[in-house]
């Protein structure tokens, strides 16, 4: 795929669907845009995958794309990754073998339960945490140190 990554291309939309067309000709085809490292480095590299799950191109970041394509890619990624960033931890308790959280996030307020601290909590760094609830939905604390004092005390109670 090394060659394909260097071939320039453009993205465009037809209704809500995103398509890719390489500048050296070839047909347009539907494309899915994903982050290869959605947990440890979201926003870093991008993969462009066709409908048969084959990678067509990989980019270091969006900057090499033309402005229109860049906008489409950014929008698609924002729609694909539904992780909520925690802004405040209102309450976190450990009771009866479950950890219950009540949080405020960039997507709004939410309550959730975490089953296993060892399996469902990923420490990306000492400060950066990803929490998966019992159903597989993800919450992110981008910086524990940047949270307010109350939130930090609550987090400390359960993690």
């Amino acid at each position: 795929m090394a060659d394909a990554t260097r071939k320039p291309f453009k993205l465009f939309r037809k209704s809500d669907k995103v398509f890719i067309r390489f500048d050296d000709g070839g047909e347009e085809q539907p494309v899915r845009i994903v982050w290869p490292r959605p947990i440890s480095a979201p926003g870093r590299e991008l993969s462009f995958v066709d409908e048969k799950k084959k990678e067509l191109a990989m980019l270091k970041d969006l900057s090499v794309l033309d402005p229109d394509s860049r906008r489409i890619a950014a929008d698609e990624l924002q729609k694909r990754y539904l992780t909520a960033r925690i802004a405040r931890v209102v309450e976190a308790t450990a009771q009866f073998g479950r950890r219950f959280w009540r949080v405020e996030t960039d997507r709004g307020k939410r309550e959730f339960v975490v089953k296993s601290v060892n399996k469902d909590v990923t420490w990306i760094t000492d400060d950066h945490i990803l929490i998966r609830d019992t159903l597989g939905y993800c919450f992110e604390i981008e910086s524990l140190a940047a949270l307010d004092e109350h939130s930090q005390t609550e987090v400390d109670k359960v993690l």
Binding site: Y81, R98, F100, F112
Partner: protein
């Protein structure tokens, strides 16, 4: 507030929809999602009418789409959720976004929409298991599970009591001895009072021996009743939990396969062992403590009030503070306990990896890194442990101090009254008071902990009851026919099946197999081959269509009898932790040694078995003999040969073995299939060379069917597969030549 969004549309949404609904149009279904269209937490509704579908929220209707045969709705999985996408002639439209919470609901609904668009009348969407408690709206630990916050303690308690029915006599004895024990506990402080007042102050020495005797008697009664009630309590607690565990295991054996499909096996094991273990622990240690101390608490309060009401009230003053203090303490301690548990298991898994993975650790010279990782986690554990102990000591000392304050207050007021010659209070009363106070305050510190503990244990019991109440397989339908000897004719008529509604795995399959015929199933993994086999075994019931054996629909044949006549050689043969002999005769435990040897010889097993030090007695398992993949597979074949079923199922019996072993297995199979109806799945097409007919399965459908030669001549899917494998084999043989 998060809570389950069910099929009911809020009035505000309906208000926006109704003006657009035409006269003969009716709302059929609706489903709420927990994300808005700009993917914030909120509500959006997908509404399906007889002619259209709409996306709406409390503000407005965002979209209307006509249900036409060209419309197709599909699920697009996203990170943390998914969206429904509508494919229309005008292009693709994103309909609605939702988090993982509503994945089953929308999967089922998309199926319904597609059927409606085709003009069919599908049954409504299948109700999904709730992710939120239907009573309090709290998120649940597992879909359809119970809510710990809403555990109905009394109901669970009654149901547990019901389990004690057969042991009524012992329960009554236990209650009596507990009552007696509490009474005996009340004795000594009162005797102290009498000794002080009558003997020491009243100089009535004759009564000294009486009171000393009473004290000894109290001690003796306490000892005897303590032993009796303790023993009975342990017996009853253990008995109850053993009964419960046995019933649970029996219930699990008879549950439908779909129950196991949806859960990890570790989770079920934990239900049988941990949930019942927790209950046992509470019933043996917690409940007696609760009972004894609860009773004596009430008894002492009465005695204190009788001795001296005003002093008694003084003693009661600190009670609310002690209770508050102890709940505060436990609320601090519980998270620490959880932390401790997590860190301990984290340490366990590091240790496990270090030992099981030692070869890789050494090969990549990562020893130092492992040591550091272990040390860091170990250190965290130390800090948590220390924190727990420190909190504990602080609490214990604080409680003692608070209690001593109460005692001091009693000394102060009582001594003042006695010194002033108050006749209503004697020195004996004072000493008795002091004695009772300690008995009174002591248990207070544990009460909150025990209530928490009880909730936890009862939540476990409720989960156990949920399994006991789950729907078992129907072993004998009332109109089931008896088929003691199956001939082996199998037929599928337009069979459709899905593990999860909306994702059909078998999409209308029909075929007939004659008795004694061998059929090979070929196709990519995930095409539905194993599902066909699961359906023949009736591990699942079909969604529509009919599977019949000897002309009788599967559902109308007695289940146990039918399964007894199926033989299975699975891909990863499961062998039990028992001797080779026991494993071979698993399906026919009464078989003699001669029969076992005959089966083993037929499966090409005999030689390797007698080569083992313990021969047929060698125990298979972690502590016993380890077998290679090919040996395991051949043992499974021997097991099937001895079982001698009229219908045989081979699921990838020759995967993951070398060519030589494959040859041995093929010989075994050739012997095995004689005179039996056989359905075989194989990736290596050479395994299927004995098959009378082959079926190529793709995406849940039969795309080709015929003999090997017919299919080759057709030059289709099968021919392509054969070509690929021939090339692969050629490459392998060339590699061998090159190496030589």
């Amino acid at each position: 507030m998060t809570s389950q969004l069910d099929g009911k549309l809020p009035d505000e949404v309906l208000k926006h929809l109704s003006p657009h609904i035409e006269k003969d149009e009716k709302i059929l279904y609706s489903q709420g999602s927990d994300l808005t269209l700009d993917r914030r937490f909120g509500e959006t509704y997908l509404v399906i009418t007889t002619a259209r579908l709409a996306v709406a929220d409390r503000e407005k209707v965002h979209l209307w789409l006509k249900l036409t045969p060209e419309l197709k709705v599909k699920v697009d999985e996203l990170f943390g959720g998914a969206r429904l996408v509508a494919e229309t002639p005008e292009g693709e439209r994103h309909l609605i976004y939702y988090t993982k919470v509503y994945v089953p609901e929308f999967a089922s609904l998309s199926h319904v929409i597609n059927e409606l668009a085709k003009g069919k009348q599908p049954p409504g969407p299948e109700p999904a298991e709730a992710a939120y408690c239907r009573r309090c709206g709290a998120p649940l630990l597992e879909r359809g599970g119970n809510c710990t916050g809403c555990v109905q303690r009394l109901r669970v308690f009654w149901r547990l009591l019901g389990l004690l029915q057969p042991y009524r006599g012992k329960v009554v004895c236990m209650m009596l001895s507990t009552l007696l024990m509490v009474a005996a506990q009340m004795g000594p402080p009162y005797v102290t009072k009498m000794i002080v007042d009558e003997v020491i102050k009243g100089h009535d020495y004759a009564r000294l021996s009486l009171w000393i005797g009473a004290m000894v008697a109290c001690g003796l009664v306490l000892f005897v009743t303590g032993v009796v009630s303790g023993a009975l309590m342990s017996w009853l607690g253990s008995r109850l939990v053993t009964d419960l565990r046995n019933r649970l295991h029996a219930a699990i054996q008879r549950l439908q396969m779909s129950y196991f499909q949806r859960r990890e096996s570790g989770e079920i094991v934990s239900r049988v062992m941990n949930d019942t273990g927790e209950l046992q622990h509470f019933l043996i240690d917690g409940l007696p403590y609760f009972l004894v101390n609860g009773l004596s608490f009430v008894a002492i309060a009465c005695i204190l009030l009788r001795l001296d009401a005003s002093l008694a009230l003084l003693v009661f003053v600190p009670v609310p503070f002690l209770i508050c203090g102890s709940s505060l303490f436990w609320s601090r301690l519980m998270p620490l306990f959880h932390k401790h548990g997590n860190q301990t298991s984290a340490l366990h898994s590091i240790l496990n990896e270090s030992i099981y993975g030692i070869k890789i650790v050494k090969a990549f010279t990562q020893e130092q890194k492992r040591v550091e990782k272990f040390d860091v986690t170990s250190d965290k554990l130390f800090r948590t442990r220390f924190n727990i102990e420190r909190t504990f000591v602080g609490f214990a000392e604080g409680m003692s101090w608070a209690m001593s304050l109460g005692v001091t207050a009693v000394w102060y007021f009582a001594a003042k009254r006695i010194a002033h010659g108050d006749p209503s209070l004697t020195l004996g009363d004072l000493l008795a008071f002091i004695g009772y106070i300690y008995l009174f305050f002591g248990p207070l510190r544990w009460f909150t902990a025990i209530v928490n503990w009880m909730t936890h244990a009862f939540a476990g019991a409720e989960r156990v009851f949920a399994v006991l109440d789950a729907q078992p397989e129907v072993y004998d339908a009332p109109d089931a026919v008896s088929l003691p000897k199956i001939r082996g004719a199998i037929s599928f008529q337009d069979v459709r099946f899905s593990y999860d509604r909306g994702k059909e795995v078998i999409k209308g399959i029909s075929f007939e197999i004659a008795p004694g015929e061998m059929i090979g199933l070929v196709g990519k993994s995930g095409a539905g081959k194993s599902t066909i086999i699961n359906l023949v075994c009736r591990f699942h019931d079909v969604d529509s269509g009919v599977i019949a054996i000897d002309g009788h629909p599967l559902k109308k044949i007695r289940l146990e009898q039918m399964r007894h006549q199926l033989g299975i050689v699975p891909q990863d043969p499961f062998l039990f932790n028992a001797s080779i002999m026991e494993n071979i005769r698993y399906g026919r435990p009464e078989a003699g040694f001669d029969d076992v040897v005959r089966a083993a010889r037929a499966a090409n097993d005999h030689d390797f078995i007698i080569d083992k030090e313990e021969g047929y007695d060698a125990v298979i398992g972690e502590k016993g003999t380890t077998l290679s993949g090919g040996e395991k597979q051949r043992l499974a074949i021997a097991r099937a040969i001895l079982h001698d079923p009229p219908v045989l199922i081979l699921d990838e019996a020759t995967s993951s073995v070398d060519s030589e072993t494959e040859k041995a297995i093929q010989e075994a199979i050739a012997y095995l299939i004689k005179g039996r109806t056989t359905i075989a799945i194989a990736h290596r097409l050479s395994t299927l060379r004995n098959a009378h007919r082959l079926m190529v399965i793709e995406d849940g459908q039969i795309v080709e069917m015929g003999t090997h030669d017919e299919l080759l001549a057709r030059d289709g899917h099968y021919a392509k597969l054969v070509k690929i494998q021939t090339e692969l084999n050629k490459m392998q043989s060339e590699a061998v030549v090159w190496k030589a």
